[in-house]
């Protein structure tokens, strides 16, 4: 019996990483793995905010479907998010940024599963990145009168086994203990653990629903 190998087209190399970095544009599609059995719309026929894992929105993993006119688009597939790397090398393969060809693995070492039943949700990169607004800072039940600004950037974060991997970078301008300036700073962690993120996450959900820009990738 022939062993099924992990798709070679998803393995990062310095050359391919460089090409994708140059090719990705605002019109390219970003794909997100939806939760099992999740419908895109509620019974009220509005986008169900549950479709995106907002709890993990800071650093949310995405894969790209490059626009058809980009040469590397032939190596992208809607099925790319259906692969899951398993085994004792998962940390090295999945949670490590790709930096050099020294990280190219031996194919035989890659253990993975493929789940064809995963629902894939997509959006245009520029639609998500166009979401920016002011937000109030709220802590311990008190809302500051001053408003700050948040923005979303979709950044390229290839890993050794996923050359098409991107992440959501959420940034806000409220001062922190480490940085008292009003410069943009990366917001991290689970959203439900930080009440100041409530209004930002609510605003993002509302704009996604209002502008109805999510779709199922089939």
């Amino acid at each position: 019996m022939t062993k099924v190998l992990y798709p070679e087209r998803l393995i990062s190399t310095e050359s391919i990483v460089s090409q994708i970095n140059q090719q990705v544009c605002g019109e390219c599609i970003m794909m997100h793995r939806a939760m099992k059995d999740q419908e895109l719309y509620t019974i009220g026929q509005e986008i169900d905010p549950e479709i995106i894992n907002f709890e993990r929105f800071c650093g949310l993993s995405l894969n790209t479907l490059l626009c058809g006119h980009h040469s590397h688009s032939k190596n992208c597939s809607k099925d790319d998010v259906k692969y899951s790397v398993i085994g004792n090398k998962k940390k090295e393969f999945v949670f490590t940024n790709f930096e050099s060809n020294s990280q190219i693995p031996n194919y035989e070492e890659i253990e993975f599963t493929f789940n064809p039943n995963i629902k894939v949700i997509g959006f245009k990169k520029s639609d998500m990145e166009s979401i920016t607004d002011e937000y109030p800072f709220k802590k311990n039940g008190k809302v500051e009168t001053q408003e700050y600004t948040f923005k979303i950037t979709i950044i390229y974060k290839p890993t050794p086994l996923n050359v098409l991997h991107f992440e959501i970078l959420l940034e806000g301008t409220h001062p922190t203990e480490k940085d008292k300036t009003m410069n943009f700073k990366m917001l991290k962690g689970r959203t439900s653990k930080k009440e100041y993120l409530d209004s930002i996450i609510s605003k993002i959900k509302n704009r996604i629903i209002k502008n109805n820009f999510l779709f199922e990738v089939k």
């Binding site: 939760m35 509620t42 019974i43 009220g44 026929q45 509005e46 169900d48 905010p49 549950e50 894992n53 907002f54 709890e55 109030p136 709220k138 311990n140 039940g141 809302v143 959203t191 439900s192 009440e195 409530d198 209004s199 996450i201 609510s202 605003k203 959900k205 509302n206 629903i209 209002k210």
Partner: protein, 172 residues
């Protein structure tokens, strides 16, 4: 719901009051039934977090859903009944309402559930792309502010608040 002016000479204000009251009651019943269906369908997601969060969500729904529905029906004076209504209960522990009206008016209300402190509600209202209101508010206060900003007469009395009242004035 749009109420037509009655040009009939036999116009009877008392029966019109009863008719409009009946429409309002039906709208309210419909919205309450619909939001309950949403709650029943989506609230089990909270159980994936914890039983405590589910109970907090249930209490929030019981305490405020009827109030929200009643206040939203107050919008019908000016904007008609909502053309789309959605309540989602999400795994980041929130109850998220969407009310879409004609003329590009859309109201979002999201309550984040907390176990160790009061729940937080964040509201936003858009008229097309323009934000009419956004902020953290108690639900009743927030909806009253929104009604005021939209020029909607605010009263808890269903008769005083009914569209019949303005309807009758319009038809004089």
């Amino acid at each position: 719901m749009i109420y037509q002016c009655n040009s009939n000479n036999n116009y009877n204000p008392v029966s019109s009051i009863e008719l409009v009251q009946s429409y309002e009651d039906k709208n309210k019943e419909h919205l309450l039934n619909f939001t309950k269906a949403c709650w029943d369908l989506y609230s089990p997601r909270l159980n994936n977090i914890s039983e405590e969060i589910f109970n907090a969500g249930k209490q929030e729904y019981i305490n405020n859903n009827k109030l929200i529905v009643e206040r939203i029906l107050g919008f019908s004076q000016k904007f008609g009944t909502p053309i789309k209504v959605s309540l989602s209960v999400t795994s980041d522990a929130s109850l998220h309402y969407t009310f879409r009206f004609r003329n590009g008016l859309i109201l979002f209300l999201e309550t984040f559930l907390y176990l160790n402190e009061e729940n937080h509600t964040y509201m936003e209202v858009f008229e097309y792309d323009e934000i009419i209101f956004s902020g953290h508010e108690k639900i009743e206060n927030g909806l009253a502010i929104i009604q005021e900003k939209l020029g909607i007469r605010n009263s808890n009395s269903s008769l005083y608040n009914s569209s019949l009242f303005s309807y009758s004035l319009d038809c004089d």
